[in-house]
């Protein structure tokens, strides 16, 4: 009778394993093709996002357009996922101040084909395309839709609020 105990235990384990696999597959398909949560922190997107941290929902369905806040893989560090706003699409002419606060020298760049120009909403403290250049489309992971946490700021993430 001892062998049938192990049989039952084995069957239970297999059933749980299959269930876990199904849940994981569902989550995987959802996060890779539909929407995924992301944790964004840092001062570069003030006032749109809090510097102390936000959990946002990003979707992978639509193509990013001007004014969208996107999550992308950093061209500087493949392990980082910055969140910035798309300020220019391919072909656009973007002008930016080289060193805000230091001087007023400005430069104009045409965004090359297949790339976007991203900038943080808080220009004074943001590492973005003004530093690492235009970002290829292939690195964009998703468009930020909604802030989920902190709860008191639950709501859509929209166009930059003019201060």
């Amino acid at each position: 009778m001892a062998s049938s105990f192990w049989n039952i235990a084995y069957q239970q384990a297999m059933r749980s394993g299959v269930f876990v696999a199904k849940v994981y597959s569902f989550l995987h398909v959802t996060t890779n093709y539909l929407a995924f949560p992301a944790y964004a922190f840092g001062p570069s997107m003030i006032p749109t996002l809090h510097p102390s941290g936000n959990v946002v929902l990003a979707e992978r369905i639509s193509k990013p357009s001007r004014g969208d806040v996107v999550v992308f893989q950093s061209p500087e560090d493949p392990n980082k996922l910055p969140t910035k706003r798309v300020v220019g699409l391919e072909g656009d002419s973007v002008s930016f101040v080289v060193g805000p606060g230091k001087n007023d020298e400005s430069r104009t760049i045409v965004v090359p084909k297949g790339h976007v120009w991203v900038e943080g909403d808080y220009i004074q403290n943001s590492r973005d395309s003004r530093i690492f250049g235009p970002v290829p489309y292939g690195l964009i992971q998703g468009r930020v839709l909604w802030r989920v946490w902190p709860f008191q700021d639950f709501g859509p993430i929209g166009p930059p609020t003019t201060t």
Binding site: P78, G114, P136
Partner: protein
């Protein structure tokens, strides 16, 4: 009430059909996960990797694990999402990792004007083996590491060229 009887007959068939569909769906999921995250076959064509890869098209097996663990090295043939056209994948060889200094000729057909670059952090330098007919890092610059989507393992078609790629 004949239609009620028909409905009952079809219930059994519908249940069986659903079971078969779910088996097929599970199989497709498995294929998809393997194809995207482990190993897949890709058809590559074009003159930019001659003589390593044929002009008219080869089918190669590519694995999608190495790039996730940072195990892409010098000399590897990689599948990269094109920085100029995000809907296209290109196959080139990695000739420089971050921090490496490279010299290349601006135009291999004309003269010896040589340009020297240092590959920035988080990027790789890719070039086709056929310098005369390849659009690669010499044209669009170093490519961010995360655009690499796979590493070529071996060629499976045409059969007379079956084997590892070097």
């Amino acid at each position: 009430m004949r239609w009620l009887r028909y409905l009952n007959q079809w219930r059994g068939t519908a249940k069986e059909a659903l079971e078969q569909v779910s088996i097929v769906a599970k199989f497709l999921c498995l294929i998809h996960v393997t194809d995207r995250y482990i190993i897949s076959s890709t058809h590559v064509q074009g003159p930019s990797m001659l003589p390593t890869l044929n002009l008219t098209g080869d089918v190669i097996l590519a694995e999608h694990l190495s790039h996730r663990f940072g195990k892409i090295g010098l000399g590897d043939i990689v599948l990269v999402r094109s920085p100029t056209d995000p809907t296209r994948m290109v196959t080139k060889r990695v000739l420089g990792l971050e921090g490496h200094r490279l010299s290349f000729s601006a135009d291999p057909l004309v003269g010896d004007s040589s340009i020297s670059v240092v590959v920035p952090k988080g990027h790789v330098w890719i070039q086709g083996d056929n310098l005369y007919a390849s659009t690669d890092s010499r044209n669009f610059g170093p490519v961010p590491y995360n655009l690499i989507e796979g590493k070529a393992l071996l060629r499976v078609w045409p059969p007379r060229f079956f084997g590892s790629l070097r």
